[in-house]
């Protein structure tokens, strides 16, 4: 939409871009580049590390595997998200909130616990195989894990919410009359989906797909634990080169190539399918949103419901078995447990270190959410007001933290912050997390601003409101869901991070994930499962309470 260039509307572009831009330069560009430049040689300039990458075939093949798996996961996540988003858009508000809870719960479970639960479910004599063989569908155990399917299951499980939410938003913007028009012209359910629903919900998919793809590239815990050697991903290699081999120049070379490959793909993608190309509606009075009429659901709709139920079961399965697992008494995990006890819960509450770590993680996450929401919203506002020419470049820059392997950022930040003494204090970790979390807020608020009607802004300003007042009373309520979504992602990014915590904390400032990973090289302390269960319970209570409150408000 064309806007008057400088209509004195009270929000200068620099105000939006500068805060996060500054953070990126100081806390991201400097540490990351200082490490990446090692790729070109520690003493003088050399390309020997890049040569090694090219000459030794295993690295090319790992890079290919990484991109391939990330792509597959994105496709799977999209396929699984469609039925769920469709159902969410066409059921009543309470069912919808329940589904939303279902979609978000996997988020709140630590990656380590989730993967452990999946392994227990999918191993040779795990629950799934027992069901399959017991019902006679198979005669020998199927290998679901320690191979490609294991990685795909694990990664899709955790990354789906990033697509479901924007896709659901796209569905809510779909108008019922558009679908009915197609039907009246003779389109059957499949044609309606293929030619109307799919193209019109595509922008939602694109936004979420980008996040999923870039996240997937950096995964290494899930592939390490649930995949086989054929699924080694590049983040594992980068991490091992940094941590164990101490071959930083080579790790930097790997990371540089990864970065270049991803940024190029991102730039191409932005150009053709980018956030710019959200399709606007076709005029006339606004119609009814997409919903189910008294006619009931088409067979396609029922098929979608069945699919959505399967997807829902997929999402919730590991979360459910985590509860009985936490009540097992043996330090070796099994489902169902042979004997029950509350040992691990006692351990959690009894040992101060657990509760302290949980408190610490919550504090940090709280700070991170507060800061990144401000930075991200400002950035989104700034970008929205930019001239179109530079917009996608700035957008790409603002989401770079999502695609740089976290360990590189962690090491770089250590070198940067050690002299300042912030390492070991709550602020070192917080700053590191802010860099990681803000891009999520930026993306969600940016999307929310897109659907904000600019005329409302003009109307308010025309009536005499200052820009700040207009923002507070008109714009903010409208983009609040986008901010909330971003805040959720930011919280989780901070709450679940291990690597930055590993480098930027010490024993006094230990976070929960760091505690969970202690000793994991040797054993898995079931106390972490108890911890996860508690977190899930609290989340369900908080969100459930919110649900009940909102219901009362609308009646």
């Amino acid at each position: 939409m064309a806007r008057p260039a400088k209509a004195g509307r009270g929000f200068p572009v620099w105000l939006g871009l500068a805060p996060f831009g500054l953070v990126l330069v100081v806390l991201f560009a400097v540490p990351v580049l200082s490490l990446l430049k090692l790729a070109f040689g520690e003493g003088g300039f050399t390309l020997v590390h890049f040569h090694r990458m090219i000459d030794v075939p295993v690295y090319r093949s790992v890079l290919g595997t990484t991109l391939g798996i990330a792509g597959l996961v994105t496709v799977l996540a999209v396929l699984a998200s469609y039925p769920l988003a469709y159902v969410m858009a066409t059921v009543g508000p309470r069912a919808r909130s329940l589904l939303m809870l279902l979609v978000l719960l996997p988020f709140w479970t630590s990656a380590l616990v989730r993967t452990t639960a999946w392994i227990i479910l999918l191993q040779s004599n795990g629950v799934v195989n027992a069901l399959l063989m017991g019902s006679g569908l198979t005669t020998t155990p199927t290998a679901f894990i320690y191979n490609l399917s294991g990685v795909l299951i694990g990664m899709t499980h955790v990354l789906m919410p990033f697509i479901v939410l924007p896709l659901y938003a796209a569905f809510s913007n779909l108008e019922l009359s558009t679908v009915q028009a197609a039907e009246s012209l003779g389109a059957g359910p499949i044609t309606v989906f293929r030619r109307i629903i799919l193209p019109l919900t595509a922008p939602g998919v694109v936004a979420g797909g980008m996040i999923v793809f870039m996240n997937a590239i950096g995964f290494y815990l899930t592939p390490a634990l649930m995949g086989g050697p054929g699924q080694t991903m590049i983040a594992q290699m980068i991490a091992s080169n940094i941590n164990t081999e101490l071959n930083w120049p080579f790790a930097a070379a790997l990371a540089t190539v990864l970065l270049v490959a991803t940024v190029t793909m991102l730039a191409l993608f932005q150009r053709f399918f980018g956030l710019e190309r959200l399709i606007e509606g076709g005029g006339g009075k606004a119609g009814e949103p997409f919903t189910v009429t008294s006619r009931g659901r088409s067979p396609g709709g029922w098929a979608a419901i069945v699919a959505a139920c399967l997807v829902g079961a997929f999402l919730i399965a590991p979360i459910i078995i985590v509860f009985p697992m936490s009540l097992g008494s043996s330090p070796f995990l099994a489902f169902p447990p042979d004997s029950y006890s509350l040992t691990w819960y006692e351990n959690f509450f009894g040992t101060t270190k657990w509760v302290a770590a949980l408190t610490r993680s919550l504090q940090i996450a709280g700070l991170v959410v507060a800061i990144s929401v401000v930075l991200g919203t400002l950035a989104a506002l700034g970008v929205a007001r930019m001239r179109p020419r530079w917009r996608s470049t700035v957008e790409t820059i603002f989401i770079l933290p999502m695609i740089v392997p976290v360990i590189i950022l962690a090491v770089g930040l250590y070198y940067l912050l050690a002299p300042t003494g912030l390492v070991g204090s709550i602020w070192g970790v917080t700053l590191g997390h802010v860099v990681l979390a803000t891009p999520y807020v930026f993306i969600t608020v940016r999307a929310a601003l897109k659907s904000f009607d600019g005329n409302l802004e003009f109307a308010a300003l025309g009536l005499g409101a200052s820009w700040a007042t207009m923002f507070r009373r008109v714009m903010l309520p409208s983009i609040a869901p986008g901010i909330a979504a971003g805040a959720v992602f930011a919280f989780i990014t901070s709450f679940d991070d291990v690597i930055i915590a590993l480098f930027l904390t010490n024993i006094r400032s230990r976070t929960l994930p760091k505690l969970m990973y202690e000793g994991v090289a040797h054993e898995i302390d079931p106390t972490i499962i108890a911890a996860s269960c508690l977190i899930i319970l609290v989340t369900v209570l908080v969100l459930g309470g919110n649900l009940l409150l909102t219901k009362r408000k609308t009646t």
Partner: protein, 332 residues
């Protein structure tokens, strides 16, 4: 014009539908002849849109049946009914050009590409949008979008053309010019049209028949003239145009404002009465004079004249009408 698809007759029999405890359609029966332009007229909540949607198949009903050309369409899915529908918000496919929008229905019917191209060109010429064929909906004005919606519905040669308040979003001049076009198209194409509107002027202008609805029932169905000159009851009389109800011997005489004469000279009027002027307004085609007659407020529309122009508020004045012009309605 080559697009001659004579529409089919529609027979609605005792249709009933409830939304929870509300009766959305309460025993609705209506016969629409083939090629007829039938308007469903009523206020919001009267059930007119619900009735249209049940004919289209977007809503279910509990009792009664709908026959198209003698065939019960109840069990038929929407996509098989060969109806053309124009929605209130046009519902153009935003990601397709005008041409692709119009061609959609033909593609669903699996016509050959050449045939599709010909028919699309033909109908675009009919609605005068040939120059805009490659544009996207968001690049068109409201009136243009409306015409695309119409073209898209017509090109498939529908048995019935259903239109749900299609002109509601347009300004008055545009609305009138499109109304003219609609009439012209209907004459040329001969489709059966079921048209929903709350605007009674529009209904009077466009329709062969009008079914006036209220609270899920058809109050009266007749030709525009029939409804206007012989309203079945007070509700109908007030809905279509204005109506005066003059108290007289415990009864009320219903008479249209344009049938009242005001002034000293009341040619042809066998009924003469007295009243006071409460307002005099020039409305272009004449004057609108508001009178008070024994406490009842009456409106009269009369030709312009110096005498009328000179009337002042409060002036006692004589008025009258022809008793044959009084409408005989049952008072409810």
């Amino acid at each position: 014009m080559n697009i001659s698809a004579l529409g089919k007759a529609v027979s609605i029999q005792s249709l009933g539908k409830s939304y929870g405890s509300t009766r959305a359609l309460d025993g609705v029966s209506l016969n629409i002849a083939a090629g007829e332009f039938c308007t469903l007229l009523g206020a919001s909540g009267s059930g007119k849109t619900t009735l249209l949607k049940t004919i289209a198949g977007f809503e279910t009903y509990e009792t009664g049946q709908i026959l198209v050309d003698g065939v019960d369409v109840g069990p038929m899915p929407v996509s098989k009914r060969n109806i053309g529908m124009v929605f209130q918000n046009y519902a153009l496919f935003p990601h397709m050009s005008v041409r692709r929008n119009v061609a959609f229905g033909l593609e669903m019917r699996r016509l050959a590409a050449k045939e599709i191209e010909n028919r699309v060109d033909e109908v675009l010429a009919l609605v005068d949008l040939t120059a805009y064929a490659e544009r996207l909906p968001r690049q068109l004005s409201g009136g243009q979008q409306q015409r695309v919606a119409l073209a898209r519905a017509l090109v498939i040669r529908p048995d019935i053309l259903l239109m749900d308040e299609p002109l509601g979003a347009l300004d008055k001049n545009l609305r009138q010019s499109i109304q003219l076009e609609l009439k012209r198209l209907h004459a040329a194409v001969g489709a059966t049209v079921v048209y929903v509107t709350h605007d009674q002027e529009e209904a009077l202008f466009l329709s062969d028949r009008i079914a006036l609805m209220d609270k899920g029932r058809i109050v009266q169905a007749s030709t525009p003239r029939g409804l206007y000159e012989k309203p079945a009851n007070r509700f109908v009389a007030s809905f279509l145009g204005e109506c005066n109800f003059i108290p007289s011997d415990g009864q009320e005489i219903a008479i249209r404002p344009e049938k009242l004469r005001v002034g000293r000279d009341l040619p042809g009027c066998d009924k003469k009465l007295e009243g006071h002027v409460t307002a005099v307004n020039f409305i272009g085609r004449g004057f609108r004079v508001m009178l008070d007659h024994r406490g009842a407020e009456l409106a009269a529309e009369v030709d312009a004249s110096d005498e009328i122009a000179a009337l002042r508020v409060g002036t006692p004045v004589a008025f009258g009408f022809r008793s044959t012009d009084a409408m005989d309605i049952a008072s409810i």
